[in-house]
């Protein structure tokens, strides 16, 4: 049975209290939730909010009418959680930067931050899809399966988003080069 076909079965089993089904859903969708959250909040807050989103999903699983709609449903919970967090006056952690996320090499850290800023400047649909692909490491077909989007939409988002990202990074590099 394909993974996509397994999702509704896991949801139905989880509704009856099947622990292994809940675990499977968590392992499958936690990276998606985290990637969506990263499109709106800093990494430290995304880590915390990922737990909050699953807590909410667990409590409200009985309200989900169609088990097959779980991917889009949990993505919408993640977006709402992220937007709620953004509306708060201060970051959840009270930190401007999440230093635990920095790679060991400062140059890579700077490059990563520059790339994340460029991704953050893209339109929402491109931003989310690129974060799932480049940060969470999901492929296009996996993103489609786990967000409820069609493969065609994901492919378009990836292609256009990456083109815009190349331009944004090129602009940054060009601007930096011209000031040296």
């Amino acid at each position: 049975m394909s993974d996509a076909a397994s999702i509704p079965l896991w949801v139905e089993a989880a509704r009856t209290g099947d622990g292994s089904a809940m675990d499977a859903l968590y392992r499958r969708f936690a990276p998606v939730v985290h990637g969506i959250l990263l499109a709106y909040v800093q990494r430290a807050d995304a880590d915390d909010l990922t737990q909050d989103v699953f807590e909410t999903a667990i409590r409200r699983l009985g309200e989900l009418r169609e088990a097959a709609a779980f991917p889009g449903w949990i993505v919408s919970i993640a977006r709402r959680a992220a937007l709620d967090a953004k509306r708060r006056p201060a970051a959840l952690t009270g930190l401007e930067l999440d230093r635990t996320a920095s790679p060991d090499r400062p140059d890579e850290h700077l490059e990563a931050e520059r790339s994340l800023r460029a991704i953050a400047s893209l339109p929402e649909a491109y931003r989310e899809t690129l974060l799932l692909r480049l940060v969470e490491g999901l492929t296009g077909p996996e993103i489609a399966e786990r967000t409820g989007l069609t493969p065609g939409s994901v492919r378009v988002n990836l292609h256009r988003g990456m083109a815009m990202l190349r331009t944004a990074l090129g602009s940054v590099a060009h601007a930096r080069g011209s000031t040296v």
Binding site: G17, Q51, R59, L134
Partner: protein, 367 residues
């Protein structure tokens, strides 16, 4: 990062990682991988891992999380979400279950053998070699060690308050921060999602050792945050000592005691400070940062320089900023300390499951 690219080739790799790899996208994947969900510091490397190795590390990390989650999720048998809500709820004033009693123990002066609960207001006492194991409502477990005097002051959903007049106590709690608090002769201990061991005499001398998460210890005049694998020494009516890592050397701890005894009179370049700095390891950063927060005059000496050496390169604190802004300037260092965030009690799933054997070992430690 800007390299010539073929859009069609890029799209294939971008879509499903089909060969050939697009070097620009591969570079982005490499530098952004540390920002993915729960890539632990221990599996992070300064150079990109080969794909198979990186995949293995990520799966390994996720598998550890999965094992913890599977254990918790298995308890959802009474209904999705029901277990979670059920666990945090507790009728006001409902007695706690006394699940085991060993050796000499009494409740309100009567032998505890055969008694299966402890009501608010009752006093539970253990004698030499005695111990008592309580279920902390539904949020965890408390084990009382020998020669202890203990009572349950208040218990209801979200708020459980205990009193330890003297003796020792081990607690493991899985609940939002602040759910469990222990009052002692001269201070209060507040659980922030964790496991800890508390030892005190009737005058308030003893120690608090944190095994998991964070604990706050405070009274009306001060408060101290103690992270996992750290200890503070309780000093009666004085402020407790500065937290130190459980692996700190004897020389480090001895120098720290001297500095704590000198308090605000400790000299920035004094002998005790120099000995402490010489013995400081990376894991002792919690002590160094805590000392700077507590005794700002130490910022003028080698303690500040050693702290700067031990901290990550991207956590920058200057002496000038510290002079100008005081302990607020230390936030980048404090935020870089390698401990779990307090908000993440939900992730401390193993704390939901206690083992009494471990508790007894910890309670019987002599140091």
């Amino acid at each position: 990062m800007n390299m010539p690219h073929d859009p069609i080739r890029d799209d294939d790799y971008l879509w499903d990682r089909s060969d050939p790899a697009d070097p620009e996208i591969a570079r982005l994947e490499s530098v952004l991988a540390p920002y993915a969900l729960r890539v632990e510091r221990s599996v992070r490397t300064s150079t990109p891992l080969p794909r198979t190795q990186a995949t293995h590390a990520r799966r390994s990390s996720r598998w550890r999380i999965a094992l913890a989650s599977a254990a918790v999720m298995a308890m959802f048998a009474i209904g999705v979400g029901g277990w979670y809500r059920h666990r945090l709820q507790w009728p006001e004033g409902q007695p706690w279950q006394l699940s085991a009693v060993n050796g000499e123990a009494s409740i309100d002066g009567r032998a505890a053998a055969g008694i299966h609960s402890l009501a608010p207001g009752s006093v539970l006492e253990t004698g030499k070699g005695g111990s008592a194991n309580l279920r902390a409502a539904r949020i965890g477990q408390v084990v009382l060690g020998e020669n202890s005097r203990f009572s349950l002051v208040e218990t209801r959903s979200g708020r459980h308050r205990l009193q330890l007049e003297h003796g020792s106590l081990w607690a493991r709690v899985w609940a939002p921060p602040g759910a469990l608090g222990v009052s002692m002769p001269t201070a209060d201990v507040l659980d922030l999602g964790c496991e800890f061991v508390l030892k005190t005499d009737a005058e308030g001398y003893g120690q608090l050792t944190v095994r998991s998460g964070w604990v706050q210890i405070d009274n009306w005049h001060w408060e101290i945050l103690v992270p996992q694998n750290a200890r503070v020494e309780l000093r009666g009516k004085q402020m407790p000592g500065t937290p130190y890592d459980l692996g700190a050397s004897a020389a480090f701890v001895a120098a720290l005691r001297e500095i704590d005894a000198q308090g605000h009179a400790a000299a920035a370049d004094g002998d005790a400070v120099r000995r402490l700095v010489a013995a400081a390891r990376r894991q002792d950063a919690i002590t160094l940062v805590s000392l700077l927060r507590q005794y700002s005059q130490l910022g003028e000496g080698p303690l500040f320089d050693r702290t700067a050496q031990l901290m990550p390169a991207d956590a920058v604190v200057t002496r000038e900023d510290f002079r100008a802004r005081g302990s607020d300037a230390l936030n980048p260092w404090w935020s870089s300390l390698p401990y779990p965030r307090m908000k993440r009690w939900w992730m401390q799933w193993p704390d939901a499951f206690g083992t009494q054997a471990k508790a007894e070992v910890l309670l019987n430690e002599n140091h």
